[in-house]
């Protein structure tokens, strides 16, 4: 073959965009262009057997196929239906596409071979396959539309979401396939489809073919080609049913908590001990009367609404809790900027990290204003009642002065048959005077600030003073005293007298005429003296043993109906004994009669 022809062929194939070889019937490369040499990594390919450019495992097969091509040399792509690979001279392999052609102008059977390196394309195809798999498998509906607004892609999730298969959807207008709940939103979305706007996660619903809506979040982005022209849009639609349900449950729970906080007047607070940040819940802002914008958000601001006289104590309590990590609980009054006052309970507990280091104190602040006011009102009412009792009792003294005074004037001066009437007037007057005096004693004992003067007093002397007082009350009864010698009490003598007078007159009231009343005194445990008054009465019903010390309590089954009382005597006893660091209780003696026992200190506590 003339070299001139080969040169012509070389010149010709050098202009081809692909790597080109010219191979003779024996398989020898006769001509190769520069691209081919670059592709196979060779300085020169001419003279090589073409089979050397085929991976070794295909080399034998290649020789056979080459022979077959020689028999039927119609131009065609090589290896139809198979992926071809070529081998560089250094042994590395790469995917190729090969086209074969016959050159018969030379008088010798030559084959032209065009080789294209398809490494890039294979990679892109592999990526696209993976990407396609992702698109198919993802739970988000992914749809694409062309510039004409017709669906061009419709993945499995889109099928599930709408109930429309890709076969049906593709080629139809998007808004026929994707029925969006909010028509206004559809206009916006249409703008996105037209490439006029990007839509990021807008919420709406999409109806299935049966009409049931599914809550979704839609994002839309235009598809732009390499020239910047809009080719359509891609939409990503996420089914947010679970999210919406979870959010609705969360909202419900939050609403309930908020409602409970509002109804209970409970605010929440947290103090980050490292940053000094203090956070208040909405309800706490409400209670304190300090809005979120006015609140400084630190401990100083937290404490600022507290009354100055308690502020420091609360600060110390919180600081201590922050240092020791102990819980705390306190009540105090808040002074709101609007001048209002609230009585609150503040409690807190520490929050620690995994290492046990204190992070924050958090707790509640509960508005107890109403309850506090109710308790105060009750106390006031109680105080007013005691004052009223005192005033009424005092006022009774003046008419009693006249009743008793004139009664006594008449004693011995009226005809015999009228004498008993005068007796009755005086007797009742005296009884009433006794009641008035006891109510006044009680009223004084409740007045608060009982000013007791404690000192050591021998019991003998205290009792001697006592008998003078109760002589007339115990006139009809046998009186016994059984006391250990040398007992000395550390008491207020006046309070002690009140206690014993009331116990003895109470005993006299319930003991029938001629019955005996016994006072016993002995050393008890712990430097205390035990004094008891036994009466000869019917005893006290078991369920009233404690209640007898309540104010205005009257034992229900009092058989001695003529003996009335104000029901305050034992309440006075209780008050004075408690004020003297003692205690008093009642019990029944087996076989009848009540025993009132008083335990009082014998030495200064």
């Amino acid at each position: 073959m003339p070299g001139q022809t080969l040169e012509m062929i070389r010149g010709f194939i050098e202009t081809a965009p692909d790597a080109m070889l010219v191979v003779d019937a024996a398989g020898t490369i006769r001509v190769a262009n520069r691209r081919a040499m670059e592709m196979f990594g060779a300085a020169d390919l001419e003279g090589l057997l073409v089979d050397a450019l085929v991976p070794d495992r295909f080399a034998q097969g290649h020789a056979d196929l080459r022979a077959a091509f020689a028999a039927d040399s119609t131009p065609r792509p090589m290896g139809a239906g198979r992926e071809l690979e070529a081998k560089r001279l250094d042994g590395s392999e790469f995917p190729v596409e090969v086209s074969l052609g016959l050159i018969d102008a030379t008088g010798e059977a030559l084959v032209s071979v065009a080789v294209r390196d398809v490494t890039r394309r294979r990679e892109a195809e592999a990526e696209a396959a993976v990407f396609g798999f992702i698109v198919a498998a993802t739970r988000e509906a992914i749809v694409a539309v062309g510039a004409d607004g017709e669906v061009t892609a419709w993945n499995l999730a889109a099928e599930r979401l709408t109930g429309l298969s890709a076969d049906v959807a593709i080629g139809r207008p998007l808004w026929e396939c994707l029925v969006v709940g909010d028509p206004v939103l559809r206009v916006q979305l249409s703008a996105g489809v037209d490439g006029r706007a990007a839509i990021d996660r807008v919420r709406t619903t999409v109806s299935r073919t049966d009409g049931t809506p599914t809550p979704v979040s839609i994002s839309l982005a235009p598809i732009v080609d390499h020239k910047g022209a809009t080719r359509g849009a891609c939409a990503l639609i996420r089914d947010i049913t679970e999210e919406v349900e979870a959010q609705s449950i969360l909202a419900e729970v939050q609403a309930r908590i908020a409602e409970a906080q509002r109804l209970g007047g409970i605010g929440l607070w947290a103090w980050d001990v490292r940053t000094d940040d203090v956070q208040w819940s909405e309800q706490l802002h409400e209670i304190a009367g300090v809005g979120p914008l006015e609140f400084s958000g630190d401990l100083a601001g937290h404490l600022a609404v507290i009354d100055p006289e308690t502020r420091e104590a609360v600060r110390v309590m919180m600081r201590t809790a922050a240092e020791t990590g102990e819980t705390f609980n306190t009540e105090f009054s808040l002074h709101r900027p609007d001048g209002g006052r609230r009585w609150v309970m503040l409690s807190g507990e520490p929050e620690r990290d995994d290492a046990g280091d204190l992070l924050a104190l958090r707790g509640i602040c509960q508005d107890l204003t109403d309850r506090h006011a109710a308790v105060e009102a009750l106390r006031d009412a109680d105080r007013v009642k005691d004052e009223f009792l005192g005033v009424v009792s005092h006022e009774l003294r003046t008419p009693l002065t006249a009743i008793l005074g004139f009664g006594r004037v008449l004693e011995g001066r009226v005809p015999d048959h009228l004498e008993q009437f005068v007796d009755a007037i005086v007797r009742n007057g005296v009884e009433m005077q006794g009641m008035v005096e006891r109510i006044l004693d009680y009223s004084r004992s409740q007045g608060g600030g009982l000013l007791l003067q404690f000192d050591d007093h021998p019991l003998d002397g205290l009792l001697d003073d006592l008998w003078i007082q109760v002589d007339s009350a115990l006139a009809d009864h046998a009186r016994h005293v059984e006391a250990e010698p040398d007992l000395v009490l550390h008491v207020d003598p006046e309070a002690f007298r009140h206690v014993m007078v009331n116990l003895l007159t109470n005993a006299a009231k319930f003991t029938p005429k001629g019955g005996s009343i016994t006072v016993r005194a002995r050393r008890g445990v712990g430097g205390r003296c035990l004094i008891s008054v036994d009466d000869g009465g019917p005893g006290i019903p078991d369920d009233e043993l404690e209640a007898v010390f309540d104010r205005f309590h009257q034992v229900k089954s009092n058989p001695i109906a003529s003996k009335r009382g104000a029901g305050v005597g034992l309440a006075i006893v209780w008050t004075y004994v408690s004020a003297m660091n003692g205690r008093v209780w009642a019990e029944n003696r087996p076989g009848g009669g009540a025993i009132f026992s008083v335990e009082l200190p014998m030495v200064k506590p």
């Binding site: 005092h394 003294r397 003046t398 002065t401 006249a402 009743i403 008793l404 005074g405 004139f406 004037v409």
Partner: protein, 125 residues
């Protein structure tokens, strides 16, 4: 026999009557229904020696009467015994601070009344 003049000051007529009844044998009894009238009688008559003075009265109370008597330097010539249904320590202190010579608590017995009068008159002289 000329009895010393005793002025009973109380807005309660029954108490005035009681005191008059109990003391008629020993005193020449005159009565005033309130503080103002009492002051007028003491200054006007000039013969009042003993005053039984109620503390709580509507127009001028016993404290004020005592204060006025002290101001007019009349307390020295009188024996004033205050009497009241109220008995708290503060009231008793106030009564004596204002210069009363005795104190009597309602309701009082005949013995308590005469005892208080004797003590006050003895002390005043």
């Amino acid at each position: 026999m000329i009895l010393p003049t005793l002025l009973i000051v109380d807005d309660e007529p029954d108490i005035r009557l009681l005191a008059r009844t109990l003391l008629a044998a020993e005193y020449d009894i005159v009565e005033a229904t309130g503080g103002r009238e009492a002051l007028e009688m003491i200054t006007g008559r000039g013969d009042v020696e003993v005053v039984l003075l109620d503390i709580r009265m509507p127009d001028m109370d016993g404290f004020e009467v005592l204060a006025q008597l002290a101001e007019r330097e009349l307390l020295e010539q009188l024996s004033v015994i205050a009497f009241t249904a109220y008995s708290d320590a503060k009231m008793v202190d106030e009564v004596f601070r204002l210069g009363a010579h005795g104190m009597l608590r309602k309701p009082f017995t005949f013995e308590e009344l005469t005892g208080a009068l004797a003590a006050a008159r003895g002390g005043a002289r």
